[in-house]
Symmetry: C2
Subunit: 110 residues, 2 copies
DNA sequence: CGGCCTTTCAACTTTTCGGTTGAAAGCCAC
DNA sequence: GTGGCTTTCAACCGAAAAGTTGAAAGGCCG
């Protein structure tokens, strides 16, 4: 279900800590420890956040040697983009139609 | 704080009912009753959702005669767009740099 | 193998969220 | 001004979220 995926992505980004993690991962991969460093919260809490981001598809953790890197998966942004742009466009179209209608009416008046 | 505003917008859109409301409002204004019609939930619950959308700035309810219309405020989408695009761009830049580096290295090899 | 670092599991607490019920205002029209 | 819509307020409930502690695996290197 796309709608559940969308809910998970939006919910994941609704948390400022997770948003900060994503922002930092946009600059480059990082280990869980590096990610945790700026926050004063347990390492376990950071892993929990990572699991949320992972299940939202925003992040992967490629297998390999022990301190596994966390990698941002940008293509998930497209999901949000699509949703946002679709409705933005629809609403703006409505505005344009309304403007046109108003213009026509004032033209008739003149 | 912009970060709180962002949290509120993302959190508001993390709920499928609220997302559906926004989608329908993109087609045109509606009253609370009209909005509530498709869902089997109390009218009060709908008003609660509207309050969340309102506090996220996604929706306004212009004053006037009693069945007050709910109006979508598209410009709030820009907030999300900015955030998303900024980090998407940064990550994609990284990818490009990485590609260039790899190309350079394989060029050195040849 | 042993030990250390990384990662996960589990249980518990506190808040927040989505929803309900019930009641109270507000406002509009007749 | 009373009656019927719309809107809000308040208290409550169950479930989920964010964080903690404590413990257990997993994996890597000397």
């Amino acid at each position: 279900m796309t709608t559940e995926a969308l809910s998970r992505v939006f919910a994941a980004l609704a948390d400022p800590t997770r948003r900060d993690m994503v922002a930092r991962l946009a600059e480059g991969d990082a280990t869980a420890n590096q990610l945790a460093e700026p926050y004063q919260m347990t390492l376990q809490a950071v892993y929990k956040h990572l699991r949320v981001l992972e299940q939202a598809g925003l992040v992967t953790r490629p297998p390999g040697p022990q301190p596994r890197p966390v990698r941002l998966e940008v293509h998930v942004f497209d999901l949000m983009d699509n949703w946002i742009e679709r409705h933005r466009r629809r609403a703006e179209q409505r505005y344009r139609r309304l403007d046109a209608l108003l213009a026509e009416m004032s033209g008739d008046e003149a």
